[in-house]
């Protein structure tokens, strides 16, 4: 890790002013920044520690929704009873991520901005070619090992997966990212790589995330986050789904549905076509399974990641059926027949 200077910001204004410098980086939990500095991917000349700032870690939940400060820790948000009650998928996406030690360090703002785990991106010494790290240099992952690369939202320039869990739940429930300058709907906050993989979000240099707003909805309250991975804990998703569901009074017909995918796309991926195909339809395993396949419409396989095209729709279907069975236990036997 190259050396840098360390400044502890005394106010948000001071942090923002310092962060405008090209090689300056904000340090929140440090679990992405220091990790990547050790890999030689991040080479800051100044690190501005914002983790001691007051007033940016509040968590407020009321009837209209949740407001979460950018410096709130992942563990603090995951463990809040009111978040677990009003936004179970959000709470689960956090408690199924990383480890308790990392969740005690990592902040909500830093979590959104975590970088891809693409092994080529993380190893500049061995793989100089990476358009995300070094625009125009090529992409070492194309033709390489692709087991954990994305199938959705990729381009000829980059196929790296966005591995964060929280953002998947946030995209499903239309959260808003608040910065010191504006409010951005979360879906518009993240960018697909296209021909500029180095630009991952709409944040400008020096712009600071101040918090998140998540509107309260019935679907968000009746939700789950299902994460399927190579080992049961402390692992990124092979495929994951955040699902929110509301049923009509008959307990069978779908009134509202939210579907977002993780571990398979270059950004947290909202699957609106699955939602549109199922709203107004009855909860039946074969109908859910068929509609869930729309989640991978347009998917591109790169060989090693081909399995995700099969896996992702199954994860979506299983998550929908899980919430449905929870809402209407009478559905259970019917679901069991084919599920």
């Amino acid at each position: 890790m190259l050396d840098f200077s360390y400044t502890r910001a005394r106010s948000a204004e001071e942090a923002r002013a310092a962060a405008g410098e090209p090689a300056a980086r904000l340090l929140a939990g440090g679990t992405t920044l220091l990790d990547l500095a050790k890999c030689g991917v991040e080479r800051p000349d100044t690190v501005i520690d914002i983790s001691h700032l007051d007033g940016l870690s509040d968590i407020l939940v009321d009837g209209t929704g949740a407001s979460i400060g950018a410096l709130a820790k992942m563990s603090a948000v995951a463990d809040r009873a009111d978040i677990r009650h009003a936004f179970p998928a959000v709470s689960q996406s956090l408690s199924l991520a990383a480890s308790q030690q990392l969740r005690n360090m990592a902040t909500i703002g830093g979590n959104l901005l975590q970088r891809t785990r693409c092994p080529y991106f993380r190893d500049p010494a061995t793989f100089p070619d990476c358009n995300k790290r070094n625009p125009g240099s090529g992409c070492a992952a194309l033709g390489g090992v692709t087991r954990n690369q994305a199938i959705l939202g990729t381009s000829d320039h980059c196929i790296a997966t966005y591995h964060g869990d929280l953002a998947v739940a946030l995209v499903a429930f239309d959260a808003t990212v608040r910065t010191d300058r504006r409010e951005v709907p979360i879906d518009a906050f993240f960018l697909t790589p296209d021909d500029r993989p180095e630009q991952e979000t709409v944040l400008d240099k020096g712009e600071m995330i101040t918090g998140l707003t998540i509107p309260a909805t019935v679907a968000a309250r009746q939700s789950t986050y299902l994460k399927v991975r190579d080992r049961q804990s402390y692992e990124f998703a092979a495929a994951s789904a955040a699902i929110g569901l509301d049923l009509e009074a008959d307990g069978v017909t779908i009134r509202d549905l939210r579907v977002a995918l993780g571990g398979v796309a270059t950004k947290p991926w909202r699957a609106r076509t699955v939602e549109a195909a199922l709203i107004g339809k009855p909860v039946r395993p074969e109908i859910i399974a068929e509609a869930s396949r729309l989640a991978v419409e347009g998917a591109v396989s790169h060989g090693g990641n081909h399995y995700k095209i099969e896996l992702a729709p199954r994860v979506v279907a299983r998550a929908i059926l899980t919430v449905a069975a929870h809402l209407n236990p009478d559905l259970n036997p019917a679901l069991g027949e084919t599920a």
Partner: protein
């Protein structure tokens, strides 16, 4: 020219004045500057948990924490959990009782994690213990004994 900064760290209720480069992690500061080598370096990348210590009572990874970030916080390491008279912490005793290690390299991290895990109330079942101890890897595979030790220490803390 290497710039160093002077830090005053509160470790195990003792004050340590150290001069380090700003990039030095809390892990390296503990081991190489404060002479506290009980905290171990496994991966140095946040992936194994060997470097677990407590900051303000919360378990964290010292390899992904800058020493400078920890100034002004209360740091506790494996050297700081036994009683002042030398009596081992109940979790340490449980690890010995259950043979919850082979080579012992992951053990300080496991114990620091377990102490916090019990305090957090995450020991309701073996499944919960496994989930909340998953950030501590053991290459020797002593997991069954580790879970047994954590379970027993948690039961003793409840009693």
């Amino acid at each position: 020219m290497t710039r160093t900064i002077r830090l005053s760290l509160d470790i195990n209720e003792r004050r340590y004045e150290i001069d380090v480069e700003p990039r030095v992690t809390l892990l390296d500061a503990l081991r190489d500057h404060a002479g506290l080598s009980g905290t171990k370096k496994g991966c140095d990348q946040g992936q194994c948990g060997a470097c677990t210590c407590h900051i303000d009572g919360q378990r964290v990874l010292s390899c992904l924490t800058l020493a400078a970030q920890a100034e002004g916080r209360k740091i506790t390491t494996i050297e700081g959990i036994a009683a002042a008279n030398g009596d081992l912490h109940p979790v340490q005793l449980a690890f010995i009782e259950h043979d919850a290690f082979q080579c012992g390299y992951c053990t300080p991290g496991q114990i620091m994690s377990a102490v916090a895990c019990i305090r957090e109330g995450r020991t309701g079942s073996d499944e919960e213990i496994r989930e909340y101890m998953s950030g501590n890897l053991c290459r020797c595979g002593a997991y069954n004994s580790i879970v047994a030790a954590v379970r027993e220490a948690a039961e003793m803390a409840d009693a």
